[in-house]
Symmetry: C2
Subunit: 326 residues, 2 copies
């Protein structure tokens, strides 16, 4: 487990006492540092948008906690072994994937997470743009180092979609559909996209980076006109907003469970679970691939993670495509 900083622990203490006051003496005792040091960290929190009331005799009280996805916020909620134990955070980036790739090259540990409040040029599959307005969604990149050969890379998007689905459902209670290969939907509209990028050689993957974008609190009017019929947010669907850091923690925890299961017992169980949860089996599907359009009935996944379609010409494995239900 990563060492919590003093600021992490200060915030944690304020949240724990909220809406009550906690005395400067108590903070000083629990954090093992001087009143002057506490005052300095308190000022830093205020600069980040936290409103903290200070009363000479009562101490400190947290009045307002901004919806930030900074490490100290995620850490307040996160119970994981590896995923998210090392977090880098920025207000605004071109794309979190770009930063994560660099970090991975420089030796980021398994589970390292890069997260930002805003992406100016977020990307989805095939370089397609991903709309990432400030402070309304989760825009993050997670680095893993699975000890698997390149040919099993397709497993990774499958297990990520399963873990992220379970994390979002745990917090929101909304029913999430998995759209193969890399999207999560509510009522047929996209709320999450996963971009799986990797570097490796034939025998092993050096690192994989999951780019994860979730539309959390985006109001309808913040979606560009052309996206409104195909994309939605958790807030629109639930009629309430969600605390993004809590959601990130849940996603990391659930994803870690699925990932650990995969490492321990292979793809078999993940595949079965995915097939159950995706409810795609037996459905008429149209798959648009680079080579053309394939129609058929979905039979499930094969051992490589390809979608098997039963077509007029027999079973066809589809490794990647844009799919739609007929």
């Amino acid at each position: 487990m990563r060492q919590r900083t003093i600021r992490d622990r200060l915030l944690s203490l304020l949240v724990e006492y909220q809406p009550k006051f906690v005395s400067g003496e108590e903070i000083s005792r629990q954090l093992g540092c001087s009143r002057a040091a506490i005052w300095k960290h308190m000022e830093e929190l205020r600069q980040q948008g936290y409103e903290i009331e200070a009363r000479p005799r009562n101490g400190y009280r947290l009045m307002y906690r901004p919806d930030r996805v900074a490490p100290e916020e995620i850490n307040l909620h996160l119970q994981s072994n590896k995923l998210g134990q090392d977090i880098r955070y920025k207000e605004e980036v071109i794309s979190t994937q770009q930063h994560a790739h660099q970090w991975a090259r420089e030796g980021a540990p398994e589970g390292a997470l890069f997260v930002a409040e805003q992406q100016t040029e977020g990307k989805g599959r095939l370089g397609r743009p991903w709309h990432s307005p400030p402070r309304t969604g989760i825009w993050m990149s997670l680095i893993l180092r699975p000890p698997i050969p390149l040919t099993e890379a397709s497993h990774l998007t499958i297990l990520a979609s399963l873990g992220i689905k379970q994390g979002i459902e745990r917090v929101t209670g909304l029913p999430i559909q998995i759209k193969w290969p890399n999207d999560l939907m509510i009522n047929g509209k996209k709320i999450c996209g996963i971009l799986t990028e990797l570097r490796g050689e034939q025998d092993r993957i050096h690192y994989v980076i999951f780019g994860i974008g979730v539309n959390v609190n985006t109001p309808v009017e913040k979606f560009p006109e052309e996206l409104r019929s195909i994309a939605t947010s958790l807030a629109i669907e639930a009629g309430q907003t969600f605390h993004r850091a809590t959601l990130i923690a849940a996603i990391l925890e659930e994803l870690e469970k699925v990932y650990e299961q995969y490492l321990a017992s292979g793809f078999g169980k993940i595949k079965k679970q995915w097939e159950d949860e995706s409810q795609i089996k037996g459905k008429q599907v149209i798959a648009r691939t680079f080579q053309g359009t394939i129609q058929g009935i979905a039979e499930g996944l094969n051992s490589q993670g390809a979608l098997i379609l039963q077509t007029d010409r027999g079973w066809v494995p589809v490794l990647t495509a844009d799919i739609s239900l007929k």
Copy 2:
């Protein structure tokens, strides 16, 4: 085709006239630049180890041409459309792969080549060290951008081994064996290793880098003791040294042919050609994989580039392994 520099063209002219003199006037006319400029480039060549005799009435004559793998030397021999049309060159690097990865990220064009006289920490498959002493071998990294999905990445090592084999055979006349998946051998000893690294997402490969190491003029005594029974060089096997830049040009040309055929008509023909040339079909093979050892008779490649072994328990596709003949 890349624009030749003045120095490229000057060297080309000197080589063309060798062992005769070419007048300063003629050079000036053909290169379209002043006598003073020519003198400057002549000095640069001398600093690189070229010996150029200058006689007031006869002009210039190339007396000695060092065995370098610099772009101007490769360009003297290279007839290709893309491969090697953009070359970066250094005397000594940690590893050419490292430089090529950076160049690829910065947008290197398809066919870009990074080549060095020496690697201090050259690497093979799985991070194994690759012995790369100065000026005795070919240590280079070739960047391609094939428009194929990640799942077809195994094709790339197959086509590279085929093209490189043909390039080396064309220049040396030596019979080269392909050892699946990524080595070339003479009389059972390694003369070339290929490291295929890539970056991509499910749907597409962003770039692939072939790290290519060829033991060209390495004398026996330059091989570390422990390598002498398993590695050899073209010079040891042929009893003569070879001009490395000529060899590089031939490798690039033959690799380009195979690659263009692959892009135009797919893996089918490459697979057939590889099976014919590798002569592995019908041989008893022991394959050491991460999961254990598999014994069987080689049946050839499947459509994904895996080696198919006929075992006691039926056909088994082997995606990567260290193999040896029984």
